[in-house]
Symmetry: D2
Subunit: 358 residues, 4 copies
């Protein structure tokens, strides 16, 4: 239930305000150089603190309990934990009785009755994606593929449009490059300001591209690349949709437009497969569930953060009456800001498993 | 690789033009009345023959090899096969050398080398969804939920718009009801006619709704309802995207709009959960991966059929030269027409597994 | 529940007196030459008809439904079925009410209630091992290891002792070799004659040796070679015990006697691992769950056949009274006679899976 | 690879001399009272320190990282770790070059090359069974069955014979009861003294009995109770054999002797199944893979500890020459002394999984 993968297999555990959260990663190849430093970049990308993210800041320092010896993975399971520190559990007790709209408070109480740990969302918390990011770092090191995810839309405003509206755009030359250095929080600053001002939240869309993936990964049906990637991606809290290549738009295309005609991309190689490639990648790099050598491309829709300060109707199960709820505490106005690295991690985990299953 | 589920578990096999295709269904509850007749309605819904579907017509008669005794399931695995009859394998030999754009010909030849059975798409064929439909029938009988999928868009034209354009709409009274009796092929007749005329194909979008599903099915992460449903749905050939509830549109909503405020839907019941329900179902019936008692709602995008008569660029691996391909034979101009029942089947299979895992 | 393996995965189905029994084998490598003839030798070894086995003779002709094209495996799932023909279901109806001692009649009726198919033992029948033998044939072809199982004891009489007692032993020269040509039924003829005369049954012990298996297969804990082999072996009806290498006797040895000292078995090879090997193989070819390059050796105890003609006490659940039962019909006086090839098949299936998971 | 179970699922990790060893237990029912104290008895039973066990003494204090809230399990994964403290890694470095006979040093170096952590046996260490014992405690609390394992033989001397030879046996009255209070180390004191004096080791046999298990657990083939129990038991380092009920002896019995005739064990209950039971339990409580309501009974053979002080032949892979090895450090003269609680734990884990899968 909290396990994913066949040969590169992860098991997650932990609650937002418990002692520690963590992950066991089984099936790691022996001999991969691995140190605490390797995790810093990706963990930082997921971290909160910038505009639009919660002011709860955790140190997020991983501790490797097993599986590494003399700086290299051994082949035995890798266990990584993160101690929880900056917890304010008082904020959450209420939600056992008064479930927050859009949250798992209600369904958790049905599934696990009164025994669910409600503090900070407990095991349902997005914080559990932190160990997933750690597993993603390990998977990326095993793969060597170039996996890159970025926000392409926040609150309905595309990256291009948001960039164009930045005052820095007035810079006389090199403007575009400089703007690229802006953080996502800066690029969508106007959208975020409005949401924060209204004590509301916004969603976003992440696009992920994998370059360098070889042809031949995946299986025709239940282990198709799309099936496994979507399985992993929908395990990230807040995801509402996923589409590959031309995605939903493909349903409005003619076959002659959507199909990828094969094209020569080189010549002279005796292995003709090196010379030929589907040309326009409307399939997102996958045919019949199997990678075709093109980049894998997919987009993921994240809903607006459920926790908002604005008053919402809900039900008080203690009193049996309808009530209004203004959620106190520290929220992300846009959780999507922190998700690209999680999307990358889940993708890397799936591809590491598929690669090991070859 | 061709298996899905933990306790209600299916294993599919077969090739489009081989001896037979089939499925083994493990974990069926004993005591379910089951006869060949039970399969007819759903098999008929998947069948070709109407406008926009291939003229290859198979008898599609299931044969139950095991698991049923005296008209009831026994608890032992249910094996169901369908003999292939109406095969014209001559049509397909070419595609080993000249892969069809958008098809698995190319990736299959990379994965399984020259040993892949290319006839009719072999194991990659959409025909393998026929036994899945049979498993769906069994799952539906076990569940008793009301699972209904229907096409809501074909070739970019919504159901409402397509209906409005039918000449039958001119009928003076009762027009709408009568139109509802139209088959999908009739409703989108104009769209299909154009595609057929152009020797091209169109895609479509299917919406699936599950009523009567209890709250509490699913798990927070890797066995979330969305994760498992999407895994199964992306195992259907031709799927490019899936979204739950408000879906991609949720990424453009404010939290205060997307969140489902709880509402009283009744009163007087001592079990307050019966009286209360998230109100607008933007979450598609699922919070934190777990059903909340509302209907499950999701939409699936099907790409236009890959096989088209229209000329397409491709590569001839035998000659090492680019070429044009006009795919001969019998195609579906819109494969999406045949998919609602497959979407239902996959959904039923997932829910049967989740129910048995409770 | 009826599935085994991760990457080389089998799913079995069928009842003894149903339409057909069969198996789906997933994860078969593409390109393995495979025809109906390949199955004949092993199927014949499992077949009944000789002294001590049931006179029910089935044609046991496999039909390959999928996964083979032009004489080679394709990479897609291989489905093989055997039609049941020589069934006399009348023999079995009684056992729903009056369970046979030692049989699954009683536990099946608890698990699957009245829906269990009792005919010929239904899904619990040893006949379901026939498709397992077929899967073993495929696994053996993939592996190329030399897997050999033989009966070493029947009814408490060792092979050596039974051979010594044969009248043919009096032959003046070449006696031993000629005796080796005797079938197991002939070697233990006296033991079997006595059991048949008494309308009783006897058990036996099978020893299996795998030569040519490389070092490095298996995992330290739950996927240790012993764990997986024993899992598969205990899936054969009638198994009561398994032991590897020195087995139970090792519990009575000193460490200095049981341990395998390493020995040079060659020299000059730059890869020293080729020159060195644990010497006496008390570990049965496995250390820490992982093959060490020595032959894998284990023994399996089969209980005496449960079905006997001799009167036994049992309970009549229809009348609520104790009763005596003399089981009519056709039985194996020694089911163990037919099991060596099944033990080989299960072993091959495990090793094929471990090899594919490397 | 380090995971076991379908719905009650454990994942183990850690190395003997690493930071910590631990386990993640998924599928624990919510609402089970659980505290650190619950683990003490079973952990103590596994602990070393008595005669015949290693003088390395660890505090073996479990730390619960997740899954418990306010003293009850929540339904989320339970993560339990044990920090390693009393490690002397210097003892082990040699064994990378000079593998210890009977150990996994050799196979680990083949599988994981030079990256294997050799300290204290690394991930192959019997110490990894400590978290398994912890999982067993949780499983036992979920089940409420009475699972009891005890040593019945050490170094070839049965419990009865060892007891009879104790000087305390001379006590005039009540002698037997008092002797029952003796620890296993005391009962087999003579056997252990001899092994220690010779710097050698001895093995033993453990018998496990489960009372109170309901009829109907298990499946006919691959998930038969024997298959799953043996899978788990062979995951304990040092196991060489397992047998159920009459075990290997059944292979020497007639069917009329081995079969369990049904007997009335009560009367008057309308549910006749309550009144009837197979009488002599030669099947060890299992028919056709499914529990029959009798106690489950099986025996496990443990080999003598591999690590001995006595000189043994081995090969020095650094010098390429044969050598003699006297293993320094702290060993168990009889590892079997510490295993009954591990056998219980594995059994409980299997039964918890089967119970949750019902």
């Amino acid at each position: 239930m909290n396990t994913f993968g066949r040969k590169f297999r992860i098991s997650i555990f932990g609650e937002s305000h418990g002692t520690a959260i963590g992950i066991v990663i089984d099936g790691v190849q022996p001999g991969i150089a691995l140190s605490i430093e390797d995790f810093q970049t990706d963990i930082l990308r997921r971290k909160s603190g910038k505009k639009g993210t919660t002011p709860r800041i955790e140190s997020d320092q991983p501790e490797i309990l097993s599986g590494v010896y003399n700086g290299f993975t051994t082949g035995a399971p890798l266990a990584i934990i993160f101690h929880n520190q900056n917890t304010r559990s008082g904020d959450y007790k209420l939600f056992n009785d008064v479930p927050r709209p859009g949250h798992a408070d209600y369904t958790a109480s049905i599934k696990w009755l009164d025994f669910n740990d409600p503090r900070g969302g407990g095991h349902f918390s997005g914080r559990i994606t932190l160990p997933v990011v750690a597993a993603g770092v390990v998977a990326k090191k095993m793969l060597g593929f170039n996996i890159g995810a970025q926000l392409i839309e926040v609150g309905g405003v595309s990256r291009a449009k948001a960039l164009a509206s930045r005052p820095e755009a007035a810079l006389p030359d090199g403007g575009v490059e400089e703007k690229e250095e802006l953080s996502d929080s800066q690029i969508w600053s106007d959208v975020l300001d409005e949401a924060i001002r209204e004590q509301d939240s916004v969603g976003g869309i992440v696009e992920c591209t994998v370059n360098g993936v070889p042809a031949g990964l995946g299986e025709p049906f239940f282990d198709s690349v799309e099936a496994l990637v979507s399985h992993a991606i929908f395990s990230i809290p807040g995801v509402r949709g996923i589409e590959f290549g031309d995605g939903f738009e493909s349903a409005r295309m003619k076959g002659s437009v959507h199909n990828d005609p094969f094209d020569e991309i080189g010549s002279g190689n005796l292995n003709l497969h090196v010379n030929v490639r589907p040309s326009k990648n409307g399939a997102g790099g996958i045919n019949g569930g199997i990678t075709n050598g093109n980049p894998i491309v997919f987009r993921v829709a994240f809903k607006p953060t459920s926790s908002i300060g604005k008053a919402q109707k809900t039900f008080n199960f203690a009193t049996g009456e309808m009530t209004e709820l203004e959620i106190p505490g520290r929220h992300d106005a846009c959780i999507a800001l922190r998700t690209p690295v999680i999307v990358e991690a889940m993708t890397a985990i799936v591809l590491a498993d598929l690669t090991r299953m070859l």
